[in-house]
Symmetry: C2
Subunit: 315 residues, 2 copies
DNA sequence: TCTTTGGATAAGAAAAACTGATCCTAGCCA
DNA sequence: TGGCTAGGATCAGTTTTTCTTATCCAAAGA
């Protein structure tokens, strides 16, 4: 096994050869001429043959030096490029998040993340099947629900906030339809997203009600569109207190049965990633940030649920 | 232009990754575990991401580390192999020498060179047109004559000894032919090598003689064969006092006209090489050795010529 | 001849790398 | 359960390396 010459001397020689002199190399490496001179001499002593011919006006490569240079340039270049690529990769945080959670919760907060961690370049995809995007496998961290079935065992999970559900519609719609009791929902238009059939069932089950069998229902590709339709007065949506928090607080959505709040059987919104990625610095930074940012939502849901429980036991 | 990480740290990481642990690396690099640990940490800090996952029973490469390792191994390998190749190359001394000079002068002395410089592996070729040998252009140093026409100007030359010529033949031949004066040569068989026609002419010119026009002449491919034929009593050769020194001293060759010694117009036997090779350590070693070894021959020819000059002016 | 360019060199200062000792953690084994 | 072991991390102190600063020096050009 051939032995490796002193590496810093190799670098000094490579720079000197590339610049055609020690002065150029000393500028590139931020050292003095003397340092380069000593490095080159050391390397020549190590190799046992000269790399430069010393002339009055500088140096000229020997044949051996001429043969050595391209090998070094290429080798160092490969190392530098790969190190750079890996660094870029490490500073790029690839997040995958379903469209509803993304638009209604994550996106409005992301600029705060960028301010807090300006070194990370965040790439978000909301489309698990995107062509032009990145493979979900390649993502560093993803948003999901806590009780997703068949979760691989070495995946780490952190719940950001529980999913608390209650029917909601535009205030005008509520007035027009005169919604007094859950049975009145049969007269309404129910606005679905792909998850909400299970959730409606959980909601009726939770409060011992008959399944809701509306006259009209519409299905939207995600929770955001269903919610927007509800705000426009199209019908009733099973709203997430957190994801629809803004609409509730602005009065754009009203809850006809504010006491009938249940949690989703799929669990709350959570972050998840494989063990190694989970503990990488960039993902650790993101999840700690996300957990902090979700604090008010966790508190809000918690307070609401406890208040209802207290009221229920009091009644 | 991507920046190069600390090179010694890279080497430490590469060794550690290859050995699957810091202890193996510390053995390979002859340092302690702690040194490897610090190097790896330094590199991780520089890159901004971890290369190893630390576990109770040692370390495991991260994805990034796994991607980095083969690049480093390959780059370091290329450097080490090329350095090794160049070192071997530098220790190989390629000498080109005409057959006569080679057999009659150089070869008998070469074992002394090997003893003096055991690190050099000497490759000698006597054939400028050899197929299996090496290109004369690739030779490090060559033997020639000092006054070769059209010599390229940046070629350095060192004359080892002058070429002093006088006719010579076996003592029996001399007796049988009763050689008394140069004119008697016309009765002899003259033994030629490719150079000797010019030299005969120089010899006759030098002493104001008519050109030798022998009844019989034979031509040999090199001076060694012509000399051997002369020793066998075939005819007369224009002998070089140095190259035929052994035969003269052993009495195998006799000079019919010992006072008629001239120097070759082509000059003495010399070493030559391009400027750069000339000053390389291995060639410098060889030529200084060769010059020393040629000392007795220089002295012998010098003494002989001065003696003749003194005698000539006295007469 | 004098100046400029570019490298070589040496002494001392600064930085780095290394060692040796000690600490720490997780698995292992009785 | 607790000691044992393997393998790293860390720290203080020392050794080595490396760098700088300040001269030299040689050759080319003005």
């Amino acid at each position: 096994m051939p032995k490796l010459p002193p590496l810093n001397a190799l670098r000094a020689f490579e720079a000197a050869a590339r610049h055609g002199g020690f002065i150029g190399a000393s500028a590139e490496l931020n050292v003095t001429r003397g340092a380069i001179s000593r490095h080159v001499k050391l390397l020549e002593d190590h190799l046992g043959f000269p790399l430069f011919v010393r002339q009055a006006q500088g140096v000229r490569l020997t044949d051996a030096g001429m043969q050595f240079l391209p090998v070094l340039t290429e080798a160092f270049g490969q190392i530098a490029r790969e190190a750079d690529r890996l660094s870029r990769n490490a500073s790029e945080l690839r997040v995958i998040c379903p469209p509803g959670t993304s638009i209604r919760w994550l996106l409005p907060k992301l600029d705060r993340f960028q301010k807090a961690y300006p070194d990370f370049r965040l790439r978000l995809t909301t489309d698990f099947y995107a062509d032009g995007g990145f493979d979900p496998i390649e993502a560093d961290i993803g948003f999901s629900v806590a009780n997703w079935p068949n979760r691989s065992p070495d995946i780490e999970v952190l719940t950001l906030f529980p999913t608390a559900l209650t029917p909601a519609c535009a205030p005008g719609y509520l007035r027009d339809m005169a919604l007094k009791s859950p049975e009145d929902l049969s007269r309404c238009t129910v606005l679905h997203d792909p998850r909400s059939k299970t959730d409606w069932r959980a909601w009726t089950d939770r409060f011992g009600l008959a399944p809701v069998d509306p006259g009209v229902s519409q299905t939207f590709p995600n929770i955001d569109m269903a919610t927007k339709a509800a705000v426009m007065g199209v019908g009733v949506v099973l709203a997430d207190l957190v994801l629809c928090r803004e609409e509730f607080e602005a009065g754009a959505l009203a809850a006809p049965f504010p006491d009938l709040v249940c949690q989703s059987p799929l669990g709350g919104v959570c972050l998840l990633a494989g063990h190694e990625k989970w503990h990488s610095p960039k993902v650790a930074a993101f999840r700690s940030w996300a957990y902090d940012v979700a604090e008010p939502d966790r508190v809000m849901v918690h307070d609401r649920i406890s208040a209802l429980n207290a009221e229920g036991s009091k009644a």
